[in-house]
């Protein structure tokens, strides 16, 4: 079964993802992980850019959201996107291990949370959640 985008009206059947991370090494790795799974991805460097790209009309099947980012962090960005009515799968990724911070992140509207660094198997488990 080909990976189908859940948003309609797109020419390709490829899934799309947005990587929101302020670290360029992480962006490169996440891009490669997604690419390996046949997922097209774009990257932004902070939460505000993640929100802005949606305001510009773009939509993604999956958002990989880092928690700690300058200007607007992942928690705020997730909240804002949900307020805007964005129903894409948002997976929080972070190095934080403090429980209440993780809870705050999840409560902001995450569908999944994974501890960094992201690996192939973690990404696959996130994607399985999208497919239901």
């Amino acid at each position: 079964m080909a990976a189908q985008g859940i948003q309609g009206g797109r020419k390709s059947n490829k899934m799309t993802a947005l990587v929101a991370d302020d670290n360029m090494v992480n962006r490169a790795i996440h891009h490669r992980l997604l690419d390996n799974l046949g997922i097209e991805s774009e990257a932004v460097g902070n939460g505000k850019e993640a929100v802005d790209i949606h305001c510009s009309g773009k939509n993604f099947d999956l958002i990989l959201m880092d928690m700690d980012m300058p200007i607007m962090n992942g928690i705020e960005a997730t909240r804002k996107l949900r307020e805007m009515g964005i129903r894409s799968m948002i997976a929080g990724v972070s190095t934080r291990s403090v429980e209440h911070e993780i809870r705050e992140f999840i409560e902001a509207g995450l569908d999944d949370y994974q501890e960094k660094p992201l690996t192939m198997s973690k990404l696959i488990s996130i994607i399985h959640k999208i497919k239901g």
């Binding site: 670290n23 360029m24 090494v25 490169a28 992980l33 700690d68």
Partner: protein, 149 residues
């Protein structure tokens, strides 16, 4: 040195890097992401790491030279360094970063300076070792061989 010897040397060298804690499982993950379509992925990401780390180390040096140190700023840079070192599996660098962040929280200047020195040291060690490893890989490829996993 013949091809088989080179390949053996590489495997031994790589194993020692894991053994001595320079690299961890995350580096293996990166290697597994490399394939015929992306044959230079590891070198590319590691190069990004080198670039990013050097920038961060410079920023850290500057920040810690200030009369009145902005610990939040120092912490932000260390956080970045911790993140990228963790992502490529540079375990020893990552470990120093953890201690470094604790000193930032305590606003302990001496502790921070000590960690900066340590992290520079660990970074330069892992850089040298990775570069040696990449050189060995290149030799193998040039000799027409393949990189053993």
């Amino acid at each position: 040195m013949d091809l088989v010897q080179l390949q053996r040397q590489l495997v031994e060298y790589r194993t020692s890097l894991y053994h001595e804690g320079f690299l961890d499982e995350q580096f293996t993950q990166l290697q597994e992401l490399q394939d015929e379509n992306n044959p230079d992925f590891v070198v590319e990401v590691v190069s990004l790491f080198f670039e990013d780390s050097e920038r961060l180390l410079n920023e850290l040096t500057k920040a810690l030279e200030q009369q009145s140190i902005d610990f939040k700023r120092v912490d932000a840079h260390v956080h970045q360094l911790k993140g990228s070192s963790s992502s490529i599996g540079a375990q020893r660098v990552q470990k120093v970063c953890i201690a470094f962040r604790n000193y930032c929280e305590e606003q302990n200047v001496e502790g921070c300076l000590k960690c900066l020195q340590q992290v520079r040291h660990e970074y330069s060690l892992v850089k040298t070792k990775l570069e040696s490893m990449f050189q060995l890989e290149q030799q193998i490829l040039s000799a027409g061989g393949s990189i053993p996993m």
